[in-house]
């Protein structure tokens, strides 16, 4: 067995009474010292995964291994795994010190050692003066920190965090993000984090597993899941996105390499570059074509030589038709991915062009999100404009018609998931 692996799931399935399969045949592994997140909508099975790791639930099928050893039948209190619960689950009848000392007392550590370790941990989160406070007297953020050190004081091999920040306000949450990252780096503990907040998952994690209906849709680094989503579900769940779908066919695109043409319903034919590392979709396969809002440039005039309505064209000049707009990452998706692009589309690249009416304009500060309605019966195209360049161009007017232009190389081809996948913005 690989020594570097802290945790392995091998074909793990969990079903509850009534044949409801909550976790479906999951296999993955987590490396030692990794910050690993489960990201997914509520009810996707991520909390059940966590409970199986902690031992509070037993898998119906499959094996769970820790450091190479099967732990299916090991009771929670014998596992070197501790959890920070969603609503902290601090003991209300015990004070701060007694809460943090609980685990060590259960292990019958000598009182002097308990005192020393508890106080050291409380100092770590600046709560050393709070030892005799009752839990009810603490603010949400303080309770959160007590819950964190109550688990960490036991020096677990794996720390599980079940949406621990959901109850905190935004500012406190950002502060806890920094605190969690630095604690994790400092202690070298493997963190397994469950959240439905994609921004949180991308900011904190080394790797993210995106879950949907008991399955893992994709596991990858934050950049991978954002830049190369494996499915339309992932694309929609991680960040704001435009998703098109339709049957694929082979195409040659400008800028080198082979491409794929997707005959969408209503948006015309859109082009994507074929990633050579990925299998080429067979002609006629239903695929998804994804483009991030920050990859779309907004134009007042049509790109030279281009057609409208999603007709791919050769970009004829080296400078892109003015005015171009730079873009920054999608809102909510944090700064984890997407490099702002102000560069013109390289000469000769195939571009996708759609024309629509500006129907919505939301000011975010550094960026403005706009929506272009292409046609009444189709969802609007979402684009993100950086405001530093937006001032240089004629201000975008509601009701005016604009061109949405993007490089075919910025289109991402994904497998088409079920339409039940929810859209997240």
């Amino acid at each position: 067995m690989n020594d570097q692996l802290e945790l392995e799931f091998e074909h793990v399935t969990k079903s509850f009474t009534g044949d409801r399969v909550v976790v479906n045949n999951l296999s993955f592994s987590v490396k030692k010292g990794e910050f690993f997140s489960f990201l997914g909508p509520s009810g996707c099975g991520k909390t059940t995964c966590l409970r199986m790791i902690s031992g509070l639930e037993r898998p119906s099928q499959g094996l769970i291994k820790m450091s190479g050893k099967v732990v299916n039948d090991i009771h929670p209190h014998k596992r070197n795994v501790h959890t920070v619960f969603q609503k902290y689950a601090l003991f209300p009848h015990l004070n701060v010190f007694e809460n943090v000392a609980f685990g060590l007392k259960m292990k019958k550590r000598p009182p002097a050692e308990v005192k020393e370790r508890v106080e050291r941990m409380l100092r770590m989160v600046s709560l050393q003066d709070y030892t005799r406070r009752s839990i009810q007297q603490l603010s949400g953020g303080e309770q959160q920190r007590v819950a964190l050190v109550r688990a960490l004081v036991n020096e677990p091999a794996i720390l599980l965090l079940d949406e621990p920040l959901a109850a905190l306000d935004l500012k406190l949450r950002e502060q806890m993000h920094r605190e969690l990252s630095s604690l994790q780096k400092q202690l070298g503990t493997t963190f397994i984090f469950v959240t439905h907040d994609q921004g949180e998952a991308l900011t904190l994690s080394d790797r993210v597993a995106i879950m949907n209906a008991g399955n893992i849709e994709q596991i990858g680094t934050p950049t991978e899941v954002y830049e190369q989503p494996a499915s339309t579900f992932v694309a929609r769940f991680v960040g704001t996105t435009n998703v098109f779908s339709g049957p694929a066919s082979h195409a040659t695109i400008g800028g080198g390499g082979s491409g794929v043409a997707v005959a969408t319903d209503g948006f015309g034919t859109l082009f994507a570059k074929q990633d050579e590392a990925k299998p080429r979709p067979a002609t006629g396969d239903n695929v998804g074509l994804v483009v991030r809002p920050e990859k779309i440039r907004i134009r007042v005039t049509a790109p030279a030589g281009s057609g409208h309505g999603g007709l791919g064209t050769q970009s004829s000049t080296s400078s892109a038709p003015a005015p171009a707009s730079a873009v920054t990452p999608a809102n909510g998706a944090s700064a984890a991915t997407a490099v702002p692009t102000d560069a013109p589309i390289p000469s000769g690249h195939t571009v996708n062009v759609l024309r629509g009416t500006l129907i919505e304009r939301i000011y975010f500060g550094p960026t403005t999100q706009i929506k272009l309605q292409i046609s009444d019966r189709l969802p609007p195209i979402i684009a993100l404009v950086a405001n530093q360049t937006a001032t240089k161009m004629p201000s975008l007017k509601m009701g005016d018609r604009y061109y949405a232009v993007w490089d075919a190389a910025d289109s991402i081809l994904v497998s088409s998931s079920q339409p039940t996948a929810s859209q997240s913005t």
Partner: protein, 304 residues
């Protein structure tokens, strides 16, 4: 300003219940105390000359024996009710909402039958020719009927049967409010099942246990109907003693003295519990005061 005033003044709406308590509780207790320091007249009437011997008489060994027996009855009734109720209340609290309602109804339904009828029906079930004995005889498990009524066994069954709901309900209320993820948290921190129950579940459901125990212990101590109906002639308890003193010996002053002791006992039990709670609160307050309260900077400094 107005709000502050109304918070300090007792609202008018409590006047009816206050009047009720004065007329039907305070005044009767006063009358009982008044009677307890009088003589018994030759014909069972009350002789109004002052007499403190009734209280002295209550400490004669024969009466102390009866008090001890009653205390023992109340103690084991409480203990058995506690042992039976806790798992039941726990199970109810962990059931689905629908099941909770159904189980609550099952606990309460026996109250819809008259108390005396309920106790009497036990006599039919437990009696010599009762249901249990006839079934056991038919199955040849016993050769002669078991003596299950007209002795202390019958009394215990009757007591537990009648007082169980008084224990289950407060316990259920306490456990229903209990956050069961705290048990998960305890397991997660390495506690075994037993440790989790002792360290987390019991301390946090203690108010329910205390309330239920008081609800059972105090009335059980003065109970007289159940021992009378199911205990036969052999067993005398405080409750039966008082009824007999009033109705058979017609010694109202002595009966009043015994009753005063009973009231005193109930009050002492309550005061004890209240003082314990006050002490807990006081400890908490002291802990709060000694804790230095400088709020650390909200930005978290990690001392690496």
């Amino acid at each position: 300003m107005n709000q502050k005033m109304s918070r300090r003044q007792p609202p008018l709406l409590i006047l009816p219940s206050l009047a009720w308590f004065i007329v039907f509780l305070i005044i009767p207790i006063g009358i009982v105390i008044l009677y307890s320091v009088r003589h018994k007249g030759a014909y069972g009437q009350v002789d109004w000359s002052l007499n403190l011997d009734n209280y002295k008489r209550a400490f004669e060994p024969i009466y102390l024996m009866i008090v001890a027996r009653s205390l023992w009855l109340a103690a084991y009734t409480t203990a058995i009710c506690l042992a039976l109720s806790y798992p039941l209340a726990y199970f109810m609290a962990r059931s689905s909402e629908g099941a909770k309602k159904a189980l609550l109804a099952l606990v309460i339904i026996p109250f819809w039958t008259n108390f005396v009828i309920r106790v009497y029906s036990l006599k039919l079930v437990l009696g010599e020719a009762g249901t249990i004995n006839s079934v056991l005889l038919k199955l040849h498990l016993i050769s002669a009927p078991l003596q299950m009524v007209d002795n202390s066994f019958g009394v215990s069954i009757g007591m537990v049967y009648n007082y169980l709901p008084f224990m289950v309900l407060p316990m259920y209320v306490a456990l229903d409010k209990f956050d069961f993820t705290l048990m998960d948290a305890a397991y997660d921190l390495g506690a075994t099942k037993t440790q989790t129950i002792i360290r987390v579940l019991l301390p946090l459901s203690l108010p329910g246990i205390v309330t239920g125990s008081l609800f059972v212990f105090i009335p059980a101590f003065g109970e007289f109907v159940i021992p009378d109906l199911l205990g036969g002639s052999q067993s005398m308890y405080v409750g039966t003693l008082i009824t007999e003193t009033f109705l058979k010996s017609r010694d109202w002053p002595f009966g009043s003295a015994l009753s005063s002791f009973l009231v005193l006992f109930a009050m002492a039990a309550f005061m004890f519990v209240l003082s314990r709670q006050a002490a807990d609160d006081e400890n908490l307050r002291r802990a709060e005061n000694t804790a230095p309260a400088p709020l650390p900077d909200t930005k978290v400094a990690l001392h690496v």
